[in-house]
């Protein structure tokens, strides 16, 4: 198959979505910076959005998948706002945003 044709296929969309998801998971696991972890979560949510939109076209030819992506976008924005507010609070408490320092409950 021609690579240009492949780009428009369902497979391309799903592969890009999966890779984005894996990269996001990797960022969440490996980053020590809490903002970096948030960036990873945003990548994961975008991957979910790609899959919803792709299936909305290639599987159902109906609008429902896109409505869900809209919901994902709305929730992602709310999540970013709350997460960054939490990070700010954490920073005030600890003077750092290193996730490893968030260990008050441990001892």
């Amino acid at each position: 198959m021609n690579i240009l044709d492949w780009a428009t296929s369902l497979q391309a969309y799903l592969v890009v979505g999966t890779c984005l998801f894996l990269l996001g998971v990797f960022a969440v696991l490996s980053r020590r910076n809490t903002i970096g972890i948030l960036l990873g979560i945003e990548l994961i949510l975008n991957a979910a959005g790609i899959n919803f939109v792709a299936f909305s076209k290639f599987r159902a030819a109906a609008i429902d998948g896109q409505v869900f992506t809209l919901f994902v976008i709305l929730i992602a924005a709310a999540e970013a706002a709350v997460a960054l507010a939490v990070i700010l609070r954490f920073y005030r408490l600890k003077e750092t945003i290193n996730a490893d320092e968030a260990n008050i409950l441990r001892n």
Binding site: L70, I73, L74, A77, A78, A80, A81, L84, A85, L88
Partner: protein, 138 residues
Amino acid sequence: METGFITAFWYLAIAALVVPLMLGAGAILRPKRTGENKKLDAYECGEDAVGTAWVKFNIRFYVIAIIFIIFDVEITAIFPVATLYKDAVANGTAGLVFGEIFLFIGLLLVGLVYCWTRGDLEWVKGIAQTKPKRGIHG
């Protein structure tokens, strides 16, 4: 739809090329001159710059940005519903759409009133309280 978007992509691509094109044209036209070392310093009204400019700044920008993003997504979500209103009025079913829009705007107003009454929209009030340990205000 697709011819429209391909044209839009042309516009974006050409707009992105404007910058290198202009700078490239300048590179051909202008005389070459190097070595004036002091010129490369950051401009602070003639004084030598003290410390780095990458300093932490006031938190009020941040609270505003948080309020903004919530308002932004809510308004984004109301647009598809708003496009239905004209036809709904023509069909005599405006009530549902109006209720939806009213609810959205109402909830946004509640959020605005909350921020307003709790003083999150005040710019001056925060100065004394939010002074960062090191950094600049503005």
